[in-house]
Symmetry: D2
Subunit: 339 residues, 4 copies
């Protein structure tokens, strides 16, 4: 970390600052330049906030030399991380497809969709048991019963299952029942939940928050990793901007950015990212080409009757037409659909 002092900082002010730096346990390297003085901190600065020293009047600017995330940082872990989920691989040269309905609604619904997805080709089955809805009056999901139905669908098809957790009180059930635990955008900074998941060994699908920067997102991954669990799959799902035509603005440049900053796999959710079913195919293809390790696609037999998010769900038939197109692109990109 580097502190740039304002021109004209007095000796006494500088002394006071240096004392505070040393009190925090750092050595310093001081460089007196033409019209400014620069103080370099020596020691592990990942533990201190960029803003720690900004309350000093004489500090003009503060610069982090190293990223605040360590375990998620590609600099300290150059090889791509590959997550193994019951033999299926996420990362490296595979392309995974997580598909299923927004909400688990009934046994027949989830089992039928699972079967059709399996026939078309799919890596993981997803289905929401707990639904974070903006309104308390909207359908909130079937809860633990939803998990039971997902397990039936897994038994029938062999597909590993993915579902979103919303609180720690059902953590044990999720660890036992589910193959990948999803953390939704609204809980990306639910730090208590992140830490608890960090103490398990379950693969985690960590969605980017609605207006999270890339750094904040990786810091949330770091929360999980700092407790021991390094099985994290990041998921770009669109960010909030002024544009209202799409539900969110899908940030595909986040894919190469994350690949540069981190070794963790990243997948893309074009269903939430655009909010429009007719964009899902196109943006899934673009995600693959942008370097993503997979996509999450909402599929529902009858989107018009879905209990949630019908507007962005595609039908199993539409889904079946996307797979061969992704396959062609995967060939060119030297990836292999993990289906």
């Amino acid at each position: 970390m580097i502190l740039v002092l304002k021109p004209g900082a007095s000796g006494q002010q500088t002394e006071e600052l240096l004392n505070q730096i040393k009190a925090k346990g750092f050595d310093v390297h001081i460089s007196v330049g033409h019209d400014t003085t620069i103080i370099g901190l020596i020691g592990d600065t990942t533990k201190i906030d960029r803003r720690t020293f900004s309350s000093f009047d004489i500090v003009l600017n503060i610069l982090k030399v190293t990223e605040p995330f360590k375990k998620a940082n590609r600099m300290f872990h150059p090889e791509d991380t590959v997550i193994d989920v019951g033999g299926k691989k996420v990362g490296n040269n595979t392309f995974s497809i997580i598909a299923g309905p927004c909400s688990v609604e009934s046994e027949s619904q989830i089992v039928e969709i699972a079967k059709e997805l399996k026939k078309s080709g799919v890596t993981f089955l997803r289905g929401g048991a707990y639904k974070p809805r903006t309104s308390p009056y909207s359908f909130q999901g079937l809860g633990l019963e939803g998990l039971d139905l997902l397990k039936i669908a897994r038994e029938e098809t062999g597909l590993p299952i993915v579902s979103e957790i919303m609180s720690t009180d059902v953590l044990d059930r999720f660890v036992e029942d589910v193959d990948i635990i999803q953390i939704g955008a609204r809980n990306m900074q639910n730090f208590v939940l992140l830490k608890e998941l960090g103490r398990t060994t379950k693969p985690i699908l960590l969605k980017r928050g609605l207006s999270a920067t890339l750094e904040e997102w990786l810091m949330s991954a770091e929360y999980i990793m700092s407790e021991g669990n390094e099985n994290i799959i990041l998921c770009e799902r669109g960010i909030r901007t002024f544009e209202t035509y799409t539900r969110n603005t899908l940030d595909l440049s986040a894919v190469p950015a994350i690949k540069k900053l981190s070794h963790l796999p990243i997948i893309v959710d074009p269903s939430h990212g655009t909010g429009k079913s007719w964009m899902v195919e196109t943006m899934s293809k673009a995600a693959l080409v942008s370097g993503a390790d997979g996509v999450v696609i909402e599929v529902h037999h009858n989107p018009k009757c879905a209990l949630s998010d019908g507007e962005q769900s595609i039908t199993p038939d539409e889904y079946s037409e996307i797979i061969p197109k992704l396959n062609k692109l995967a060939d060119i990109e030297e990836k292999k659909l993990e289906v």
Copy 2:
């Protein structure tokens, strides 16, 4: 709720849509216009999502006639809600000041600050026991010990205390120990936590999420209210925009907007809203004039040594100078500082 159909919608498509609407339990009022057909839904549409019917191709646009929030809605509750916290009133013609350090750091720290605040005039003492920090390596707060120290400060000064809760597992302790429970911006859509707090009778300080719309914020209040707890104080604390000079962009127009939409009291946090201690006085005054029912101000003896958020904290001396200025403005605005 009103559905506007695209010009050229066929009879069969319209029929299919009408069946789905009726299956959801609504009556309809159909109006065939010049080049479009409009379907009005009759019944309680607060329970359905605006997007429920948007998966129908023939639906051009969907319009909610009533706001999705009911208990928080001024339309159904025209009088201002006033929250009583141990005899102190929030709302109506009072102006409350919640002040204290970002983090509780030690007994002497919190007790001394509390005493100085009391001397200058203050309504509630705040202090963070659990801190939602972006980095897992940053100071995370003293936890339950922090609550104990806050209680000592309350005993010494008589000031009611405010502290942020981050998860349901310490809910009982918060209910027992704290006078107002704060929900931070990052947990505004932690729906499980909201519901649990809704089952208590504690006053809740509900901060606006980093990029939450006014409607989403009121829906989070609705989550709490729908479970029975109507003692909610909203807190505007800045939203995330492209501007980086300030930590967030403080949205003071949210104050008159919320006053129009809801009967709940709203206060403003200029410390987090700007991230700059030297803006706190000015923006506190502007908050009062904009109609806010109070402010939250971070105060620390030695901001340069604060374990968190030093940049935005003011000293007790600086605090003491703000109060008479707020008092003068309160006189003009026919408000009374609740100190």
Copy 3:
């Protein structure tokens, strides 16, 4: 346009509103529903602002049934528009590549780059003669001399040339010298300039404004088209969001969105959209797959010495490696590189 009245609107208030509507030249269709009244306006509402009637207290909400843009609207012009530039086609199943340096710096610079681009395959040569720089102290471009140098490069290579115009006073020279006139993001709503360009027949490359919605962008195209010039190529170049890692956030979902809303061709600028040279290849490929009709790529011999935008420029060698990759993807997408 549909006006939804608030429940409880009085007869007199409604009368006043109806009179105002009729005064603006519209017929009305009134539908009295269960708890609200809906007024449909009959006539050409593209000429009135959505907000025209919102000053009436009894108006709850206003809904446009038709988009405010007409000539740019796919509804009234279902076939894709193809722009012919000296025999080269933009739109339909072609994929165009506009490449060249941010700024024209010298004859040798622009001619050499042009030759190398030609060798690798390129559709149009671009180069900035007038540069919209944030600072008045930054290099502002060579001006008309820059146009002269571009013409030399065209003569030497046969490549049609693209350059940005910043004001109407050099319009005649641009019309005479340049094959495609670019309107930059900062001038997207320079309505006087748009209208003047609308009176020419030159192909226009219209960049999306820094924070323009899709509708505003199409309305700017409509400004040009309403004056007679329908030769417009839209260019997505990233929007401004809270994310600072990339220069802008490239919105690739704008491509399928614009294709749905309009018949105009749309290309993508990954250089400005990301601000990072190492993302250009990946995002160019993603743009092709998302359905774009082309890309704009900044190329400079020595990005480290570029007078502007070195960080996002790639070298001619790097450029040459992108073309075969785009070619492979174009094959799959049934597009043909127009080179």
Copy 4:
């Protein structure tokens, strides 16, 4: 300007960078730290872009030590600038009110409003002659005839007049006819127009762009000042965010921020900033208290019939009630209404 090199930068790479820095005319101060090297540039770096050196791989980060604006910078001009407009003062301890209709519609309209404003107390009369409308089909203003009508209103009332210019071709008429020339948000980065206005001596009202950072806004002021005209009044008018309840998000923290960064006066436009007439009084008061040097308020006799922006206009009667309230606050803030 300070360049921080990546750990592990080779001697040859560093050499190449140093040569480029020297070629740009700077001396350097090199400081070799614990795990990084820092290069300080000595010389006038306001002329170079922050991004000039970021194409070098070894550059980790670049930091400007001085702001890129000079003439607008408070550091070099500590006293508040006061603009004199025909004897009326903008800045220092005055509070100016610019009021009038969005569009000049007729002689009787503008003259009547001017007279009523004068009676209530006002500093300047504003009225739009040229209107930047999103749609080419909307009312575009009366043009030069509008200026003529404004002049009549000035003759009748003695009020200096303010109007927006949209292009350089009518610059001479504006210089001759108008007392303050407004540059609208959409033209904040119309650099050709800024430079031309810089060559006049007219007071300029420079609105902040829809998504302009404070630094970009001040750089636009710098464009005007660098050509010689230092009579600039900045105007905050709301920025574009994800919130849709208000037309824009009025950023009142921009007032103290600009006061810190610059010596130029700053006023606030609550009419455009919120888009809601019923918020104008409240936000005008908050603007005064936040330290603004004035406000711009849209006033129309009959907002329901206004040719533009009726929703945000207040009536002359409503206006007359705001003035005494502003007067009371001005007393407390030791300001004087310049009416």
